[in-house]
Symmetry: C2
């Protein structure tokens, strides 16, 4: 085991505690149960401060290595909204919605955030050595795939070799892995958005049936951006939910070892 790895299995010598707030699992259950994918909304507006709060909750989801590789585009401009609804194939969940939020995963912003993390951690005397080392050395090594993905390929071969003898973290080592990585973190935040609307008594619908190329053009996104989903919001109409929730038997999905 390398010195770096050794540093990470140690528990750092810090005492930091946070006040815990009172929680209610019944309250959470209600929020989960109320959340259905709503396809038709009423004309009732969603107050702006609720959308703002929900977006703030999105940013409090966990994020891989705290690299915050997400963006949330709240589309209010009527012209852009019109184009966005068209790019969403004019589906009822988009066209009858009061609000539209486009969740975007970024494959490039981890470099900026990583440097900012180093600056913040260097200022704090309590920062354990391992944390600084992580952002200075391991993050660039782990996430930089190099020109044409060549670093990734080298990592893939190296980790395969080492992996024959002992456990070793493998991904991400390709552009495809970076897409998976960034979309994964962004999706965690998306769930906070949908649950957040539900917590305020509003409805939402996650949509993936869209023209991603057109959405990227509408929002002026670069090539290192990936549209993860578009979330619509509003209050459900009487025919807003098309039917009861359909889930296959739990034993198909929950496996106990």
């Amino acid at each position: 085991m390398s010195k770096t790895e050794n540093e990470f299995i140690k528990i750092p010598n810090i005492e930091y505690t946070e006040d815990m707030r009172p929680v209610s699992h019944e309250a959470f259950d209600n929020i989960v149960q109320n959340r259905r994918s709503v396809r038709v909304y009423t004309e009732e507006k969603v107050p702006s401060d609720i959308v703002e709060k929900v977006l703030q909750w999105a940013l409090l989801a966990p994020t891989s290595s705290n690299l915050q590789c997400w963006e949330f585009h709240w589309v209010k401009d009527p012209e852009k909204r019109k184009a966005l609804v068209e790019a969403l194939m004019n589906q009822p969940a988009a066209r009858t919605s009061q609000e539209l939020i486009v969740a975007v995963a970024r494959l490039d912003t981890w470099k900026r955030v990583s440097k900012d993390m180093v600056k913040i951690l260097e200022k704090d005397v309590r920062t354990p050595k391992s944390a600084l080392m992580y952002y200075k050395k391991l993050v660039p090594l782990a996430y930089n795939q190099g020109p044409m993905g060549i670093f990734g390929l080298i990592k893939k071969v190296t980790t395969y070799g080492i992996g024959l003898f002992r456990p070793i973290p493998r991904e991400p080592n390709s552009h495809a892995d970076m897409r998976v990585w960034s979309v994964k973190t962004t999706a965690l935040a998306c769930q906070n958005i949908m649950m957040g609307f539900s917590a305020y008594g509003y409805d939402s619908c996650p949509m993936e049936g869209y023209d991603s190329a057109r959405i990227k053009k509408i929002l002026g996104l670069n090539r290192k951006s990936e549209v993860v989903m578009v979330i619509s919001a509003g209050k459900r109409a009487k025919n807003g939910v098309y039917g009861p929730r359909l889930r296959m038997p739990q034993k198909e999905f929950i496996k106990i070892h």
Copy 2:
């Protein structure tokens, strides 16, 4: 616009309503604020029925086309747990945890679920035509990438051509897109797991630093499975959270159009 597409922009003629439960955004805020990535846990056990409830909440997250391409592996067996902790590089968040859940995305189960959806929908007289058509025709077309991804490639070229003239849904049209697709849905459920533990006053940590090949072997997963993350759970020790939450300024991530 094709007949099929036309069917999907129509609002079907159904009236289905659900009783709404009382919700509290303050309660949700507390659950969000308490959820921190916890690296060191106490020896306090998590009651089994809480883990079960949390896993049930996972299955109530939205799932793309309701194809439920997720699996949650709850590892209780001491031998398997030991191997899993090693595959997680022996990190404190794994080795001090009381429970470990491996979230897995499946690239193959959509075929089974899709057929089951047809069976369920055919039995219900209220099912709109478009829903049946969706699972019978569109789902196989959209998700089947064919041998060596050849169908996907054909779709990619075709949608590119059509896309020059009008909006058209583009993804998934490759194996890489299918990975993104299945991981995305699974991540939504993962967030329900972490928030669920928080709602019960327990802590969690999502981990991605692991040897995915070894985890797949431990759980006996096939080649069409992707380890999305491992979530540990327990009660935070005094030094369980390493420091205050660090998020870069909101304006870097929330964009208003």
